[in-house]
């Protein structure tokens, strides 16, 4: 678990596509040649992964801004 990210309570979350429960897994994210590992809720069956808002509009947005052009 990444200690810099808030705990995510995923109890009761299910995959909309296959109705399997979500579990926390380490996901490797790549963006413009850079890669980083993030613990994210993911469907054990189809591996669809949920990116919570706080991450998408927080650190991931910061990564994008850092790498984008003027």
């Amino acid at each position: 678990m990444d200690p810099t990210l808030p705990d995510m309570d995923i109890e009761g979350w299910f995959c909309q596509k296959c109705n399997s429960p979500l579990t926390m897994v380490k996901v490797n994210v790549t963006y413009m040649g850079a890669s980083f590992a993030v613990d994210l809720p993911s469907c054990a069956n189809c591996h669809t992964t949920m990116i919570p808002d706080f991450l998408a509009f927080g650190k991931m947005l910061e990564v994008e801004k850092l790498l984008e052009d003027k």
């Binding site: 990444d2 810099t4 990210l5 808030p6 705990d7 995510m8 979350w13 909309q16 996901v27 490797n28 994210v29 790549t30 963006y31 413009m32 040649g33 850079a34 890669s35 980083f36 590992a37 993030v38 591996h47 669809t48 992964t49 949920m50 990116i51 919570p52 808002d53 706080f54 991450l55 998408a56 509009f57 927080g58 650190k59 991931m60 947005l61 910061e62 990564v63 994008e64 801004k65 850092l66 790498l67 984008e68 052009d69 003027k70």
Partner: protein, 494 residues
Amino acid sequence: MKPEFLEKTESICPVCLKVLSAEIWERGEAVYLERECSEHGPFSTVIWRGKPDFRSWKRPKQPLKVVPQTTKNQGCPYDCGLCPDHGQNPCTVLLEITERCDLNCPVCFANSGGHKDFTPLSDLIDHLHWIKKTQGQIVLQISGGEPTLHPQLPELVEEASKLFPAVQLNTNGLRLASQSGLAKNLAKNGLSWVFLQFDGMSDWVFQALRGQPLISRKMAAVAACEEADLSVVLVPTTAKGLNDRELGPIVNWARSKPIVRGVHIQPMTQTGRNHLIGPEYRMTIPEILKALSDQTDGLLKPEQAFPPGCEHERCSFHLRFRRLDDGQLIPQVPRADDCCCGPGGCPPKFSNEASPPEETDSNRTKAVEIIIKSWGNSGQVNPSEKIKGQESESSDPVNLSQNSNNQGAGNNGSGGGLKLPMAKKKPMSLDDFLAQARKETFSVTGMAFQDSSNMDLARLKGCCVHIFRAPDRLIPFCAMNLTSSSGRYLYRKN
């Protein structure tokens, strides 16, 4: 090849500076700005030569309505400024604190030198507050003359750093090299980075452009900044056939020095005190990009370069990289195989003239942030946070990363272009990546300033680099330094 008409614009007569209607034509391998003065005849100046194609270098913008300091009287460029016709607020304001200089360069656009006066600190602080009040969050550049000669520079930097998200020092570096502790003192007082005149890697270049051999003193200036943990941007003034072969060596040296965050190339203009007058010295943006590519064995590629979001599209270019420990540069443009837009990569971002004009003021704000993160001290906080922290007390910076109750489902775009779950390199944590990436950015940029022979008033109206002129004027850089072919300034004192 048959000549092709490309655009209509406005320009000036290089002799009398009268405003003239002008046309842009492609003739053979080059693109020309053409106009005719009823008194002084026709003028044609090369403004683009080579790849990328002139037609593809587009980034249209919606002109901004500035809060004017003057009224429209004679029209651009006579009513600066800013006048109601100007289309962009500044991302960078230059404050010239003295005309004195310890060099006497044959190519000085500001005609600096000698033992001229220093502006008193109290006046300079008043100027800082006027700039802050009228322009808000900009990058402040302290310039001259040679600003390090001003005896109260450290105090000025301290005051400026309280008001602006970044303070840049434009210097020849000689004092940084010779005066023990100056770089450290300036860094302690809040200087963000040094914009260091740096024309080549050999003494003969400085002899030609600056009148004396300087390479060892330039190296000493960089070493002083390194010791002070003060970021440096190397700024070569580049003239074709003179020091254009130095661009690759400068970039290769710069990327081996972690304290050097970028190289900012300024092709020489025929302004001020320039004894090297003549079209044969002019370098256009594509020629600079080709020289960079040729001299770095293709490490830098013209297709990695983009036009700016803040100023007019033909005023500058930028290439941004992540720099690894071994000096390797990773271009920060989406690759076809690793792109949010799927196989084939992003559609050409700036190559479509029909694309909607971008919103000028938000691009300016973004430009300030990107300048800071590109050139700022590696230990500096996230520029967005610094800018927010200096806004009015009523503003409430939002830390989205703590908004843990607001979760949303789905992987269909929430990540804003992030691709899951493949990784090509050993991944690190997001925080480690962010900390490292802030230190690792390296940029190669250039700004093609204008002079009386290539002045395009559409470009001038889009300018966002302005020089403060007491008590309450902002003059676009290329208007402030504009001189007629006989050397007569439009705005500066002759």
